[in-house]
């Protein structure tokens, strides 16, 4: 025995080396500009979503800083009313549509989910790449509008009649509408990719019962996107038709109705809050377990809460419309529903606290941000409970109290977990550790700055300062609080600069991370950092809810997938037993070309309805190019003679 073991080990090493080189050849990621445009691997596209949306976070932040500078003193003349309107609209639209969803849902989802499933790539990688380019197209349209003095100026939800043809001539509202179409088609595409990946690409053994909370949340969010986003596309589409071809959906003089727009918008708008928050909660559940060095407390209640949030999130939209004079019965119903949604969020909160309480907490950088999240989001949640009550809501409607509330919820629920998640998966993405000292500077500067800016706004709101005013008179006595709020922006800016410096420095000079620097249980930590283009040399199998912690020393791996074509394993949605093998379509330039054709059509339709018939053939040609079946060069066509029913 003693003499044969090294021989077997050597044989195994030689085999692994050869297999790795074959897989690297098969799963190559093309290089150069053309290759960059065609690369469909989820790690590349996921990182692009993150970097692009982070750039828009910074741009949205610049707009916010401009608004704060304008409000630093009464009767300030830095920004005029027209520019101010454009800037607050652009700020909200950028942060929601170009940053929050693309970062929290698409960015983290596309990068982490396939790795966490133990898959070699995301399902429908070309659709995923196409979705990225459409997102960029929408972003360029919106910002191109601002730079040509055609920035939308009707608020991020573009209520009619203000955004209708009568009160908003020109193309500002059209640009907003089409930006929505771009970004929602993108989010819907990614939702289809992620839901399919989670349901069908999970490693054998990762049954539904053993699925990590992060995957449950991504699955729930994907379904929320699928059901909610069509509503905003309908709303913005009808708005565009009213403006472009003279339909009357929102024109009361011709049997239309302005509240119809609000219903359609908020049927999307409130689930959107959870589409932004649940990814943050998913990151927190992952971190809390990892840095408390124990399994998450209450896995099942958390999963039930997440799914419940997905359902209840669709039953609360009318609370955005309490001030529109709805029947009292519906106000009461939606108050109750809005209060009810506190329950699942509360359950998650207490499960996190119980995990920490019973664990051995390691105060590493991601955990610091998790604690920041607890504090900030709790305050946002509490002011949310206040606002669910109709009398309070009516009193503070459209004041800075609301601005304070939703920044606590959104920055608390998305930005703090985002930084936690970026620091957490930074070693996986780059192979290097982030700098802890710089990270702590970043945290404290941002945390202090954030609270200075937004806690102050609660009082401004209670003192009667309405949102979206470009200036105010000295005798309102709002100057002191506004100055304090603007000071906070300086702290936040400094914090963000420290973060950027940390990322740029650590990705080259940071300590080597190794496969699993935090000792976490997710499958993504079971491969090298950064992962190879085929993600796993041998696709893993799973033994329990915490995949790596529950793995036996000789945990089985999947063999028998071909290494000369991009073969992936498809498993059963419930029990994750192997069902059949699929083939990853590989890199392609067609998604990029299709996105160009679709973008040209969307942009053209801002100006003329004829863009649709002219653009459609281009779209059709590029889609046929994308989907037309091709042979496998240089590998031979695989034999496909058997299938299951």
């Amino acid at each position: 025995m003693a003499t044969t073991e090294p021989v077997i080990a050597n044989e195994k090493d030689a085999h692994d080396t050869e297999l790795a080189s074959r897989l690297a050849r098969t799963w190559y990621q093309p290089r150069g500009v053309w290759g960059w445009l065609s690369n469909t691997h989820h790690t590349a596209v996921g990182k692009r979503f993150m970097v692009t949306s982070f750039i828009f976070l910074l741009l949205g932040g610049v707009l916010a800083a401009l608004m704060r500078l304008q409000l630093i003193k009464p009767e300030n003349s830095l920004l005029g009313p027209d520019l101010y309107n454009q800037i607050f609209t652009m700020h909200g639209s950028t942060m929601i549509f170009l940053f929050a969803v693309p970062m929290m849902f698409q960015g983290f989802g596309v990068y982490v989910v396939p790795l966490m499933c133990g898959a070699r790539n995301i399902a429908f990688p070309r659709l995923n790449l196409f979705s990225y380019y459409l997102y960029v197209g929408g972003a360029l349209v919106l910002w191109g509008g601002l730079l040509t003095n055609t920035g939308p100026d009707v608020g991020w939800f573009a209520y009619v009649p203000l955004s209708g043809p009568q009160y908003n001539p020109g193309h500002r509202a059209d640009i907003w509408s089409q930006m929505i179409t771009f970004t929602e088609v993108s989010a819907l595409g990614v939702a289809v990719c992620l839901a399919t990946t989670i349901l069908r690409y999970r490693a054998p053994g990762m049954t539904l019962n053993r699925m990590p909370i992060l995957l449950w949340e991504k699955l729930t969010i994907s379904f929320m996107v699928i059901f909610a986003m069509p509503a905003v596309m309908v709303a913005s589409g009808l708005l565009l038709l009213d403006r472009l071809v003279g339909t009357h959906f929102f024109n009361p003089a011709e049997g239309g109705d302005v509240l119809l727009y609000q219903h359609l918008f908020w049927f999307f708008g409130h689930p959107e809050v959870y589409i932004i928050f649940l990814p943050g909660a998913a990151i927190i559940s992952t971190l809390v377990s990892c840095f408390s060095r124990r399994r998450i407390f209450g896995h099942t209640p958390i999963v039930v809460s997440v799914v419940a949030t997905g359902f209840i999130g669709f039953g609360v939209w009318v609370h955005h419309m309490f001030a529109t004079g709805l029947p009292q019965l519906s106000e009461s119903f939606f108050t109750a529903a809005s209060l009810m949604i506190v329950i699942p969020t509360g359950v998650q909160f207490f499960c996190w606290l119980a995990t920490i309480w019973h664990g051995r907490v390691q105060m590493r950088l991601p955990m610091l941000w998790a604690f920041g999240f607890f504090f900030v989001f709790l305050i946002g949640g509490l002011s949310g409970v206040m606002l669910a009550s109709v009398p309070v809501d009516t009193q503070v409607h459209d004041t800075y109290f609301i601005v304070a509330h939703f920044h606590y919820v959104l920055i608390g629920g998305a930005l703090f977990p985002m930084f936690a998640g970026l620091y957490f998966w930074f070693p996986k993405m780059t192979g290097r550790m982030p700098d802890e000292t710089l990270g702590k500077w970043h945290f404290w500067l941002f945390f202090i700055g954030f609270n200075l800016t937004f806690f102050t706004m609660h009082f401004l709101g209670l003192h009667g300062m309405t949102r979206r005013v470009y200036t105010y008179l000295p005798d309102m006595h709002w100057q002191g609080l506004n100055r304090l709020a603007t000071t906070g922006v300086a702290f936040m800016t400094a914090g963000l600069l420290v973060f950027i410096a940390n990322v740029l420095r650590s990705r080259r000079l940071g300590a080597r991370a190794g496969d699993n620097p935090w000792g976490d249980s997710g499958l993504e930590w079971g491969t090298s950092s950064p992962p190879p283009s085929y993600n796993f040399l041998y696709p893993p199998t799973v033994n329990g809810r915490d995949a790596l912690w529950d793995a036996t020393p000789d945990q089985a791996v999947v063999v028998g997938l071909r290494d000369d074509i991009r073969e992936v394993l498809v498993t059963h949605s419930l029990d994750s037993n192997p069902q059949h093998k699929d083939e990853d379509p590989g890199p392609s330039i067609w998604p990029f070309l299709a996105s160009l054709a679709v973008s040209a059509t969307f942009v053209g339709s801002i100006f003329t309805p004829w863009a649709v018939p002219y653009g459609a053939p281009l779209v059709i040609i590029t889609l046929i190019g994308w989907l037309w079946p091709r042979g496998h060069s240089p590998a031979p066509l695989p034999q496909r003679t058997s299938w299951s029913h």
């Binding site: 429908f124 063999v559 028998g560 059949h580 046929i624």
Partner: protein, 206 residues
């Protein structure tokens, strides 16, 4: 190039014998198709909801118009119902890899789709309103226009599959695609019939 032969390991899950093509719900494209039908179904549902919501804003429905003429609406409803036969035929024959049957099935289905599209063009001329008349007319045009978009998409998809069916690429997973195409056609039929009931039927009944 042959795949590497695996050395002996203590525990492995060998999937070499797992089939490489699946039909029906275990196919990933089938799932994506269901998701896209859900997305587009939501858009139809919200447009129907808007239609009924706008109904509550006026006294009379249709407000100051005659309901659309039945002629082309009924013709299209009949075409939709009959078209289910070739769609189902393709779906049944696809798993057996019977290319000749699939070619015929797709050809008949494409003919139905083409016929429905042609009738739709005439249908627009007998709606008894223009989209810019009032909110009712706008809703009507958008509902029928949206459905026309789906119809055109499905026609093109069927034609492309038909073209593929005349090459040797109509094998394995493409056969599954041909079967999935029928599912999408059912979606077009169901939404078309709902459109017919709500737009042509309800104003005459209530």
């Amino acid at each position: 190039m042959e795949s590497l032969r695996e050395p002996i390991r203590p525990l492995t899950l060998d999937v070499s014998d797992v089939p490489s093509v699946a039909f029906g719900p275990s196919n990933t494209t089938w799932l994506a198709n269901v998701f896209y039908m859900t997305i587009e179904g939501m858009m139809f549902a919200l447009m129907f909801a808007s239609y009924f919501y706008l109904r509550t804003r006026v006294q009379q429905w249709p407000p100051g118009h005659l309901a659309p003429d039945l002629r082309y609406g009924v013709a299209n409803a009949v075409v939709f119902i009959l078209s289910v036969i070739p769609a189902r035929w393709v779906q049944k024959r696809a798993p057996s890899g019977d290319r000749a049957a699939i070619r015929i099935g797709l050809m008949v289905l494409a003919a139905f789709a083409l016929l429905a599209t042609a009738i739709r063009v005439f249908e627009f001329t007998t709606l008894n309103c223009r989209w810019s008349d009032d909110a009712y007319s706008s809703t009507l045009w958008v509902l029928i226009g949206m459905h026309a978009g789906h119809l055109a998409t499905e026609l093109i998809e069927t034609l492309v599959l038909l073209a593929v069916a005349f090459t040797d690429k109509m094998e394995g997973t493409r056969l599954a695609d041909a079967a999935i195409n029928s599912d999408y056609w059912y979606f077009v039929v169901v939404t078309g019939l709902l459109n017919f009931i709500f737009i042509y039927g309800l104003p005459r009944v209530i």
